[in-house]
Symmetry: C2
């Protein structure tokens, strides 16, 4: 897999060496010697990964990283920081600035290529989600802000068969407010991941089992855990297996002995990315839901109603289907006397009664401005008439105040139709209910009428 | 990257050898010796790739492939057919049954692993799209059927700097009804892909340029061509470069000399998969659009209106914003006298007039049952009043027949509000327009009134 890589390094000889190595692997490269320019380039060129030198004059790598991760235009681009520094504190500083990994100079080409592949894979996946999620967001179909979420309360699974090291990992995660579970065998992993939606999995490669990478492979090949961030923990000497783990889909690596602050920083970054992904998916989901619901009442809209009725009729509902058309009486005069917001309140009040006075398997749609349709699968004519009558009475006796101190009575006219022995269409069924409802109106309102025949 | 692989082979020793090889690479394996069982397993276990022996007793590999590709539950799972047969006609039979590739026995492990990686990558990408696209579909947010589309009219780009071989490829694609363009250099590729949305790219590795794989890498690293299927054409001897090409993101390979029917079969399969992906994306897109529009008139809904107004007000529209609240007079009586469908017709007729009598940069929303809101950026009080007056006159003089032979006059009452010097909110702006509209109603309907102050 190829990708666009931005190399940021103030020493031209360093960046040239990296560039040559990556071009040989068919990557598309851009370079920058200066932090500020790098930020602009990242915004405009939208690379798939950024390799960022930690030590630069003026704006250093940590500051550049911080800016990139704080900018909605670039926050999703993975960053590998590269530094001559071996200090754990610098690694931490990079991770805290949001870097996805930290490699030491001189960069080992094998390690770099494996990390690039892994990060590009994640980035591509995110791109697809972003394309849709951001569309939903830009259309205003999401209410949440994209601010950095807290990881407190996130759920992690520590996979380690040695009690002592497992405890160390769990304690460290707990200090961050993360709730850590533990599994000591592949069976336990399968059982736990099947029942708990984890936000992070920490896998120790020092387990005594045959080959801990089998657990990683199983997690990655299983739908339920496929997208959960996977952090490997191993000794420095175990580098070859860690690289294999990245190829299998691991997302990050922590070297033993565990440095509490580093584990926490890596866990934080991984969980935040997971949350970001979750929110993009949720935005899409809510957009889909919004396409089918009425914003005022939360009921289904006409679009869904027609589809639902078509499905029920095609399924040949054995005991028939009854439909009620419920129209609010003199609704216009509520609007005229008390304004739109009072009208909305009246509709909501009636909607609540409809929700509470129908069966769980009935479905309700807002059909027009002041009309609702209740679909009652399995209901015969007599059932539907008595249900409609109960509804009418409930609404008639409701309390409704369009303004403080003022009471107004709300009533509805209901038309009922039902599927007889002959087959029918959603359109005909609704039309009969509609005609019956108009008959109820003409007969004085606040009444229920049954369609002549559906 | 790991994945679930289903091996279907009636000779246990063959499938055991493959299984061992793939387990060593951390793949999760299931095996089946029987075609019918394999179909059931594929449905239930949902593997990421299926390795399918061509020659089996009872249901042979071609028939199994055909069934899997014809079943919505399994049609998206890539299939590699494996056969001892070297005949081109068998390869064709496999491709025609929908197989994604065809490998000869004994299977070369290197080739198999590269193909697996490439197909798993595509499958994963599709899975994410499917998860959302199918949700939209199951909610009825898509009207198109998922039937196998025709590739006729699809657009392909042949990249080859040698006229003769380019012409052979183009002719072959033309016979399939595909429209082939041609590029002979990387510059031409960039120019053409930037302006034409291709459904397939065919890249000859026999080009005289430095390294044709650079072109493949460029196509894959560029957003616009990233997801377009890429078919490599090369001599049998060039296998190493083809495998490198797969790693860079190529999707298929055709060996020289070009067999017309094989090129066409491969092109068909690749384009069909592209179309499938396009439709999943389109379903999502239309779901997003539906969330913001009113099905009857196609206008924006309240949800969009509020967001749009908020955006305009936040942008501090320098010349102010005017808003019209347009309410149909005596709408209820149209419904009462002629039924709902006549009411809908009346709304559509008025909607058409609104659309034709407003400026291109105005936006219109359906606000409630019989109410529309027109948002006019940059309009002052006088502009808005005269625009509203023109609208009112147009509607008053429209022809409307609720039933054949019957004419009815439609009129509207309009309230206008606008942003003054002080700042305001969408809610206040709409409320003033609403109050002005009620004033118009009380003053006799078929009138325009201006809000006292917004």
């Amino acid at each position: 897999m190829t990708a666009r890589i931005l190399i940021v390094d103030d020493t031209p000889s360093h960046s040239r060496a990296l560039e040559a190595r990556l071009i040989a692997e068919y990557y598309q490269i851009a370079t920058s010697q200066d932090g500020l320019e790098a930020v602009r380039l990242a915004q405009a060129w939208q690379p798939d990964v950024i390799l960022l030198d930690a030590m630069m004059p003026l704006l250093d790598g940590f500051a550049v990283c911080h800016r990139l991760k704080g900018d909605p235009l670039t926050q999703h681009i993975p960053i590998i920081m590269i530094s001559a520094l071996q200090e754990a504190s610098d690694r931490l500083k990079g991770l805290d600035a949001g870097a996805d990994d930290f490699l030491s100079k001189p960069v080992d080409p094998g390690t770099l290529l494996v990390r690039l592949r892994s990060l590009v894979r994640i980035k591509r996946h995110l791109d697809e989600l972003r394309a849709r999620g951001e569309a939903a967001r830009s259309l205003g179909l999401s209410n949440e802000s994209m601010a950095m979420p807290s990881v407190s309360g996130a759920r992690a699974l520590v996979i380690d068969d040695q009690d002592l090291s497992a405890q160390t990992l769990q304690d460290s995660l707990s200090h961050e407010g993360i709730l850590p579970g533990r599994a000591a065998s592949e069976m336990e992993v399968m059982a736990l991941t099947a029942s708990i939606p984890f936000d992070l999995i920490v896998l120790s490669l020092s387990m005594a089992v045959d080959d801990p990478l089998r657990v990683a492979a199983m997690l990655r090949a299983t739908d339920i855990s496929h997208d959960v961030p996977l952090l490997l923990v191993s000794s420095q000497a175990d580098r070859a297996r860690v690289l294999r783990g990245f190829d299998l889909g691991a997302n990050d690596w922590l070297a033993l002995p565990v440095v509490d602050a580093e584990l926490r920083a890596r866990a934080r970054n991984l969980i935040r990315r997971k949350f970001y992904q979750d929110r993009l998916r949720a935005d899409l989901g809510s957009a889909l839901e919004m396409a089918l619901t009425d914003p005022l009442t939360g009921f289904y809209n006409q679009r869904y109603l027609m589809r639902h009725l078509r499905g029920l009729l095609a399924g040949g509902s054995p005991n028939g289907i009854a439909v009620m058309m419920v129209d609010v009486d003199h609704f216009k005069s509520i609007n005229d006397r008390f304004g739109h917001s009072a009208g909305d309140m009246a509709l909501k009040t009636i909607a609540d009664t409809l929700r509470n006075r129908t069966r769980v398997f009935d479905s309700i749609a807002r059909y027009g401005g002041e009309e609702f349709v209740v679909v009652m699968p399995g209901a015969g004519a007599a059932d539907a008439m008595s249900a409609a009558e109960r509804l009418r009475t409930s609404i008639e006796t409701m309390n409704f105040s369009p303004e403080p101190g003022i009471k107004a009575q709300l009533t509805v006219s209901i038309g009922v139709s039902y599927t007889g022995s002959q087959s029918t269409t959603p359109e005909l069924l609704l039309q009969s209910a509609d005609q019956a409802m108009y008959l109820a109106k003409r007969s004085g309102r606040n009444r229920v009428e049954m369609a002549a025949s559906a």
